[in-house]
Symmetry: D2
Subunit: 335 residues, 4 copies
């Protein structure tokens, strides 16, 4: 996004202007002269990595007459800068320790989700995840236990003093999901389902917005703007891997986007390394990398017995693995 | 590439300016106002699809004070516009019928390449292709019969009055390949091997430049500029599929890039649907599509007996298939 | 998808087996031997391009003991093979001339859509397109005239004896859209909105299913299976460009996927070169290329006055341009 | 890569086999039955994430008759597992602190590289980087000071007791570069320049192999195999970002590939966050993330005065920034 244009006077030394720009950490490209310009002024366009430049500094460069910058296309997202967000009784952001949200891919039974909730609690988690409605590529695959599972999930979380995050897939289920969840999840495949974003936003609750598989960072921010424009109270952005040409890992976890959202935009970001890598053996290192890049929390898949999970077993952590990771991350005292 | 910037007077009606731009087939985005500008002028930046806009027309829009455009980064490529190119005794471009270049993936033996040359000739081909040096992902795979095969290839082509196109992979082999070839091929993996581009360009012969697997159109054009800056007489661009997230076909054949190079840049383009799709059953429809999109020619893999090819057999056409395709394309009279 | 596995006897000559496979147009890879196998048998796995191989032929290869193949994950899509589909009074498929569906990006007013309908009719179109509900990346952009526009669209089509295709974005609007449309469009961003697919499928009408921006061919077929499993009468697949690393064109039109769906899977496919390229000057060549690759029809954006279009003006054809294209495609007699 | 196939007896319970597989952390897919198999046996194919499965464990699953696995295509890379590598007097791997390699993008002058070397040494670096030959997309951009700069680089490193890593771009310069460098760098654009890989490997020195912009992990490992097969003593793999559809950051840094190479393949990996992100403000968080993911070292661009760098200034760290980062990483005691 070449959002900044500088007009440089006819007499100014363009070389000095470019040096000054490089000193600010940005590249410029000079346009024109020849045919198109009447006044002799020249124009310098700043390239993509220049977003956070202070306009006043640019105006002070000798020879620069005017500086033009586009207004932000997502003003409500910009207002979230450095805002802490409550998820149930847990706070995300600030000086808090990273927020651990964990649970099974699917809520399979009342017993299973209670076991998982106990395990998440023992391991230092603050929020329970679990899918009652599951998006599945094939119409013939298990697509969740449905509305009943929302109740099981809520009860299990209450019993162990955890918050609840769960996904909504249909406009018709927004009310039910909003009643059960402290944090409403919008999944990757629905990041640009604008009807759903509108309905979810109208609930005025916090939303976990997963990045679409082929969504640019700008489109992701604009999806957040859709939610906020519809009334949503706050948005936590969740990176879960994007699609690439290489299928060595299930998706390509884009931690630079995490660093960008956290450090440059000041937003709250969590990372889902379970979907991001699709491999249990990479979840611990990528969880650590996510926090090092700036993530405020993690969304992890765990299972009491991954061998019997009805979906995504190979990427779910066992209790011992989650416990070790939590200790490494300082969420749990070593035993 | 935001290559065009318009300065609009303080009093002008921006809505009318934008309408006028849309009439020219381009989108504009207005920057600035607020903080940065002293004069009250506004700036409109034109988006990516606006390359071929006439500056004079833009200057005539009421309210537009100045128009700034960047100079072309590839002036020598621009000079190739609509130039016809000889490949041996065949001419590519103009009102000529499409140029058919065909042959085996690898030159395997003297006998095999003579049989292939005869087959190519019978089917309306004008140029014989065949690899003496083959780039292979694994160091343990067959990597071509080497220098000796260059002689076999040259002789087979001469015997059947065909031109020769063959790939060079090493700076050390540029001389030998240039002696054997009417058209020197630079492969996808070497599109940005700048040392090789320099050595090949210095031969002052026509070059077939395959697009890199992840090369943007702009990078492809600039690789052509590298060749021309080094002395190359002319460049034919060859689209052979780029890398994408979907491996349903071996690569993703980008025919829009072909239409763009041919119809907007005026360059000579051929398409290699053999590597582009990796499937024999898609070569005929994609060959027709390539010519419909604007390609000046085709580069096809054929084999006397695909079942015995040492490389790429599944994407090689048999003689009967090539013959049918040539008839469909009007390169051969129906029998 | 390595969907085929051959078990080869301990005494068989693997070289001959591989030659025979190459003769069938497929590559095989031999696994095992060493540690894992008790019986001495070997296994050959067939690579991705081998989908359409006849099992009987493979069983006849000397030395092959068994052949294992996975069942199709989309049986209902497979049943559509070579089925012609009615869209209003127009038939898509068979020996019919290509089906031209055209109209404005957005239905802006009653007058505009009537003018467009007349223009589409004059130019040989059989189906009128136009958006009443528009997916927009920004919540602040024009998102369609809504329900009222559905009536305008229907009336304009009726007045000029055209069918109607229009997009549905929300489960709540499925009924209204289904009443107005002969062909219900599901957009790229909703290709994996499974709640919407279910609601649309239940209407038991034909559906135009656009490919998601990062959807593999397999995921696209499975989205079609979702529709058919929910009751949909038939699916026309619409290629409109996928996302790539190169933004020279707005999207990357994947005509190999079109050839694959048409020639290998026997499905009905239309191409949208307007969104596929985003540039008016590439629409004609890419329309021709689409039909050459095997498309059964085209979905085009046209506008009476592109300069005043509220959305997507730069990719809309003027009447004279549509007329020329229709003549070139044989849909209209030359004047 | 479906590299593992299990043959399951006619009488075995497939459900139990699949449960057992999930317990091992892998997914299986059952093929066949119906038409193709004579014996009644079934075949289960393991999906991509199953690389590190122990064959013996699979053979012990009740009902499994045979297990077939492909041999590794890169045996020499496999032999590097957990091997520590000397770069000058610095050791990479083992219990060592992470190896910091830093320096300017281009060696611009004798004075500049001496200043940089002093700065790198003060900040805890052990190896000096700097380009004498620079790959440039445009033929008209500064392409390095050439052979003379190799001497400056060597002298500056010696004067400050640092090792040297520098890139080679041409077969003709391999000897000169090998004399100047402790670690020969092969750049992204040349990862599949097989002629160069052969010439570099023949030097029998350690090589830093950057990943190609569109290279899969498997192709990267095979490029390492090319080097080793040609005689190279050892390979350090360098992740520097791959190409994606999103240009928010300059490239997409793939830290999951880093975790995979380090933790699963046991290879030595360094990360270049300077090219990986293209933004100075993201280099510190992404450096920390890289080490957390498992990287053994970092390759950083620094400059005494980024405003005056002839190339890549916006991604170069200043001394104060490098010093802070080194302290954060424990490479330098806090002052």
């Amino acid at each position: 996004m070449a959002g900044i244009v500088l007009e440089v006077g006819a007499d100014a030394d363009l070389g000095l202007v470019h040096n000054a720009l490089r000193g600010c950490g940005v590249w410029g490209r000079t346009l024109g002269g020849a045919l198109g310009s009447h006044s002799g002024a020249r124009v310098v366009v700043l390239e993509g990595h220049s977003k956070e430049v202070n306009l006043g500094v640019l105006l002070d460069i000798p020879g620069v007459l005017n500086v033009y910058r586009g207004s932000s296309p997502h003003p409500k997202v910009d207002e979230l800068r450095n805002r802490n967000i409550w998820v149930g009784s847990a706070l995300i952001g600030g000086d808090e320790t990273p927020l651990l949200m964990a649970g099974p891919c699917s809520v399979e039974s009342e017993e299973q989700i209670h076991q998982c909730a106990a395990m998440v609690k023992r391991c230092g988690g603050r929020v329970l995840r679990g899918g009652a409605f599951k998006p599945r590529t094939s119409p013939y695959a298990f697509s969740g236990a449905g509305k009943e599972a929302l109740g099981w999930l809520r009860d299990a979380a209450l019993a162990h003093d955890l918050g609840v995050v769960t996904e909504v897939m249909s406009e018709r289920e927004v009310d039910s999901v909003a009643r059960a969840a402290d944090l409403i999840q919008v999944g990757s495949r629905n990041m640009q389902n604008f009807a759903l974003l509108g309905a979810v936003g109208a609930q005025k609750k916090p939303v976990l917005l997963k990045r679409g598989m082929a969504a640019s960072v700008e489109e992701w921010l604009l999806a957040g703007e859709h939610l906020l424009a519809a009334g949503c109270s706050s948005v936590i952005f969740c990176e879960r891997g994007i699609r690439s040409f290489d299928d060595t890992t299930r998706n390509l976890l884009d931690l630079s986007a995490v660093a960008l959202l956290r450090h440059v935009h000041g937003l709250r970001v969590v990372v889902d390394p379970s979907h991001g890598t699709g491999r249990r053996d990479l979840i611990a290192p990528m969880s650590k990398a996510a926090l090092a890049a700036g993530a405020d929390g993690l969304l992890l898949e765990v299972h009491v017995n991954p061998a019997e999970a009805v979906s995504d077993g190979p990427q779910a952590l066992r209790e011992s693995e989650l416990e070790n990771l939590s200790q490494d991350l300082g969420l749990l005292l070593p035993t």
